[in-house]
Amino acid sequence: MRANPHSNFLIYSSSVYYDHRPIESGSFSDDILSASGGISLFEYNIDKQGTTGFDESDPTQRTEKVETTGLNPPIIPYVNKGSNKQFLKASPRTREKIQTVSDDYVLMSQGPLTGSSYSMSASITRELMETAGGKTTNTVGASSWEVPNYRHYYSLRNSLDFYSTRSPHYAVSNPDWNKDEQDINLISVPKIFYGTRIKPGSLSLKFYITGTLVGELQDTKYNGELVQVGPEGSTGSGSVAGVAMYEEGFVLLTGSWDLTEGVAYDFDSSTTGSWTRFACGANDSVNCSTSASFDFSFKGHTETQVLTMFAHARRGEVNYSNNPTFLEYGQRKVEISSSNLYIENDKQKIKNTVSSSYAGFDAPFERQVYISRIALYDDDKKLIGIATLSNPVLKKEAQDLSFKLKLDI
């Protein structure tokens, strides 16, 4: 099953709003989900205040002695470190000249526990990379080496060149530009929002000043080029302001023309409203003019494997129920029970559930059941799944019924 989930992000005054949902404040927190402008994993810790932790008197030998503060302390996860090398998501790593991995969990001795925290959340992130290919020289003693200023850009360079067959605007360098020397506005979209890839042709980036649309980008050619399509006659209209990496979930904007027609607004390091300032304030620790707002929307592409099964209730079958109320009330279940004999009463009557259209008249008996659930068993007769009907379905003895079961994987 293919689906194209739609996502919309509105960025205003350093806040992100996902799908036009307001940021809800509670009794203890200004943002009850702690996931401003995005999705909170589990949506577990709602409106929390305070801390939950463990007795830290000896960090190498933490015990399960829990310490909490505040009126509504959060739920936290933890594991006991055993010898099986299972662990929570890796802790922050430190990288030096030669890559080394410092994992707190790995360094821990066996036995004590290690904790983590909720909320884990996802939202779009904007990163302005001024002179994206810039490097800094680090020197220690006699040796020196260069370190990229923007690792994210360097990790995308190969992919950008790879997609240059899709559009020349992906190319890192050509006679007209060199992305290494450009300011690049990188917008990262977590995979949870789009699935397999962003749907080509669905991207829309709108730049507003004081509520008026001053520029809109769309990938009208379905090839990743973000073309300024409006408003009509606007500066840069028809120009390509950046590219989208559909599979990776990135948008790189390089359009530097002035969309604000010379009027100065505060865009942190610039007063010119260009596409490189788009989404200013989107989880980038930057405060921008409250006159500017941005709208970023797209569709995703998800594929879900669906297993369809047909369960047949043929005529003459599935006409009996093990439900105790299927039999008339007040009958003996056991005919004879002694030290030598156990005989069930085989004359028990089935309750007549046939509805009569007339008052004071019982409709003639018919064998019928109401099917409310369908159970799935494996070859060993082990129950592996249950499908419950929204409403019980009447099955008469002479009827054939087929139920269609769908299992999303």
Partner: protein, 346 residues
């Protein structure tokens, strides 16, 4: 498409493990009374027209963000002195509630198949029954697979209605652990909630996520319930009060509940071994430059080097089933051997 496949030996290269993940669940009295709305009509507490139990949420339940955290109800056995008392309210429902939980959690006993009673010990021998109880039924969202044995703690106020926490009692299941201190019944394992100062306060069913508190916790409290005009002991409240009114009174006196939950994660670990003379080559198009291996820098005598980024798991028909990605590429050359653990959780 790989050229060569490394066969996984199920006897030596596959292992199964089980990991226990835990969460600390702190539930304070703050959120169950008085924070959202005005007690007893809190916005995060839902009462039903059937009046048989009360649901408590962690946030006003009309918000889509709210999570259900537990249900509250009360009950007593029909052999209790409270049964048949004059002026009783919802007596049948209270007895039915007790019977339902005892049937599901404890089952039947004796030749007459009578329903067992909750007991304040681990014997189920009919002694020390708890006939008047408060039920706290935790949401599966919080208890997950089960409550961790030995982690349950509850503190309730036993002083006056006006200042219930001027006197408190704390009960824990500190005697329970994975190796003992519990009894297995039809409803799963249960342990006893007790304190050295105040004796037994109830029992907790770990897999069912259910706490049963005895009314004797508040035996000395003269105003367990007070609506401004009427004061009642807990026994009087269990007789003359509604189930939801008794649940309200319990919420008023709940100071803290804390436990840890457990989620079992089963894993299969595949050990993927790259011996010294294998996997030193790559099918990546950029690995070759003009038909020579790029990483040899033009010197054919240099050893080949590859960087492992991905491991594919194939079935016996060489169909790709799963892909494991490394967090960072690993250098592989003829001088080293690697064993990569691929863990599949389910």
């Amino acid at each position: 498409m790989p050229i060569n496949y490394e066969v996984i030996n199920p006897n030596t290269d596959v292992a199964t493990t089980k990991t226990l993940l835990h969460e600390v669940i702190p539930l304070t009295g703050t959120i169950v009374s008085g924070t959202y709305g005005t007690f007893p009509n809190d916005d995060n507490v839902k009462n039903y027209s059937h009046g048989m139990f009360q649901s408590v949420y962690d946030y006003p339940y009309l918000s889509s963000s709210a999570n259900h955290i537990f249900d509250l109800t009360v009950g007593f056995d029909e052999s209790s002195p409270l049964s048949g008392a004059a002026g009783s309210v919802q007596e049948t429902k209270k007895i039915n509630m007790y019977n339902q939980f005892s049937q599901v959690l404890l089952g039947y006993t004796g030749s007459a198949n009578t329903v067992r009673l909750f007991e304040s010990d681990l014997t189920l021998d009919g002694s020390d029954p708890m006939k008047e109880v408060v039920f706290v039924n935790f949401s599966r969202l919080l208890t997950k697979d089960q409550i961790k044995k030995g982690s349950m703690s509850i503190t309730v106020g036993t002083a006056s209605w006006a200042a219930p926490f001027a006197g408190t009692k704390t009960f824990t299941d500190s005697a329970a652990s994975n190796t003992g201190g519990t009894l297995n019944t039809v409803g799963g394992d249960y342990g006893v909630l007790s304190s050295s100062a105040d004796g037994v306060g109830g029992i907790v069913f770990y897999q069912a996520g259910m706490m049963v508190l005895t009314s004797s916790i508040w035996a000395g409290t003269t105003d367990f319930f007070d609506d401004g005009s009427t004061q009642r002991t807990i026994d009087e409240q269990l007789v003359s009060g509604s189930i939801s009114g008794s649940a309200d009174a319990f919420r008023h006196r709940m100071q803290n509940i804390q436990f840890n939950n457990t989620t079992e994660i089963n894993s299969t670990v595949y050990f993927c071994r790259a011996s010294h003379n294998k996997f030193n080559y790559s099918n990546n198009p950029t690995y070759l430059n003009e038909s020579t291996i790029r990483v040899k820098n033009g010197n054919p005598t240099n050893p080949p080097i590859s960087y492992i980024t991905t491991i594919g798991l194939y079935n016996s028909s060489n169909e790709l089933l799963a892909v494991a990605k490394l967090s960072e590429p690993l250098r592989k050359d003829p001088t080293n051997e690697l064993t990569l653990r691929v863990r599949l959780d389910y």
